[in-house]
Amino acid sequence: MDARLSVKFNKVSLEYPNGVRAVRRLDCEIRKGERVAIIGPSGAGKTSLLRILATALRPSSGTIGVLDTDPWRLDRGNLRRLRSRIGMVHQAPPIPPRQRVVTAVLAGRLGQWPAWRSLASLVYPMDIAGAERMLARMEIADKLFERCDQLSGGQLQRVGVARVLYQRPDLILTDEPVSAVDPALSDRVVGELNREAIERGVTLVASLHAVDLALHRFPRVIGVRAGEIVFDLPPVRVSDGMLAELYASESRTVPTQDNQTLETVPAGVRRRPMFS
């Protein structure tokens, strides 16, 4: 695999045990340091795609390369090390309700910490300052010692993002990371993810429900429908027609943050600064 690539999909298909084909013969390359948004109607296969990237699902056919290796040809130890370099923000944060926020954030480094350190951190959190810094970036530093079941859905989602920021992965994957966060904060959270990727030169792949967020914040947008890539373009070249067609099966309007219609501009015209 080309050393400048972070991700390479080669005719990747995924079929679930119940026969649903979520990803169909997909080819895709993402260079190191690229920031990519994935959009598409629900059921399009965005989550499946990200989970393949996260090495959580193994393709039924085709090969993938992630961070310079084919994960499914690694031995146990190397696969674990690879996984610890990939950070996934799940749509529904997989965090035990009874866990404290600080613990949930520190859990991001479990793949890097030796076992004794993970266990010791349960007795007394090993890096309170580190957790606090990441939470501050998500504007929930005041929740540091609260229990996760005392947070709102949007706050919990931001804890999930803070965990992955704390993990400092070389490949950041986020699955609709702001679906429960209100619009003003969504922009902030997605902005922080972008900032992290730019500052550390790592790759960011984010599926997003809100199309405007994808178009405004990412230099590359991939439209997915029925497990196939419909378009793969810089946002300025994504036309309203393409978007309307992408979401045709779901609704008459293209989903945005506050459900307002996307400003119609002639195709090919720059909408807004790509990244601010």
């Binding site: 499914w72 674990r80 610890s84 990939i86 997989p94 859990a107 793949g111 910490w113 993970s118």
Partner: protein
Amino acid sequence: MNSIPRLRDPAAAPRLLLAVCIVALLWPGFSLTEFDPAALFDERGRATIVKFVGTFFPLETSPDFLGLVLKSTFETLAIATAGMAFAILIGWPLALVVTRSLSISRIGPGPGLMPGRLVRMPARFALMFFRSIPEIVWALLFVRAVGLGPAAGVLAIGVTYGGMLGKVYSEILESNDTRPATALLEAGGGRIAAFCYGMWPVALPELVSYSVYRWECAVRASVIMGFVGAGGLGLQMELSMRMLNGGEVSTILLTFLLLVVLADGVSALLRKVTG
């Protein structure tokens, strides 16, 4: 999606079949055990029961005997508690081994799937073996090995309950939300770390309440093992029964009731603390 949806619940037929199977399986059980509730209430049965229960009163409350019961109670509690501690030591590691959700190779599936299975199978078999032999049999075995006394009871409870705890702990872990642990494994975390950060906080109240309930069962079990020489309230009970002293027996039974009430309180308290 394009075909006309059929508006019949596809799960209905399997469910009906299951219900029929359950009845078909239970029926021979009842007839085989000559289960006949009416026998409890016919003339002869009732007279026997009344006479038997009558010998239980009045309760024996002499200070000497109460002192003896108190001492035996402590001994029983000690056997049950030490036995449980031993059982937890046996049960937890095995539970962590057999819990499939904590398997890393399952994700994908990746490398090490076969070795994983080869380790899980003997562990599962060990759990089955430990709990398939009744604690009284283990006790008889250990009495021969370590001699008469509480140590045999502790060992017997440890082994049998270790088998039960391992199985049920693992089932509790699996039946709760396993996504947090899975997510940690997918981020390169190890088995122990995934358990501690992803499963323990999810399942804690259920684990605690099951453990306390098992401790309560261990108290009863230690009584039965007293009959074969493992000390405690059981030994006392056996002596009283041999002397046909119903009053003493019922005092001891009342003590059991108090112990169960105690276990209930402890369980409720711990659930509140961990809730």
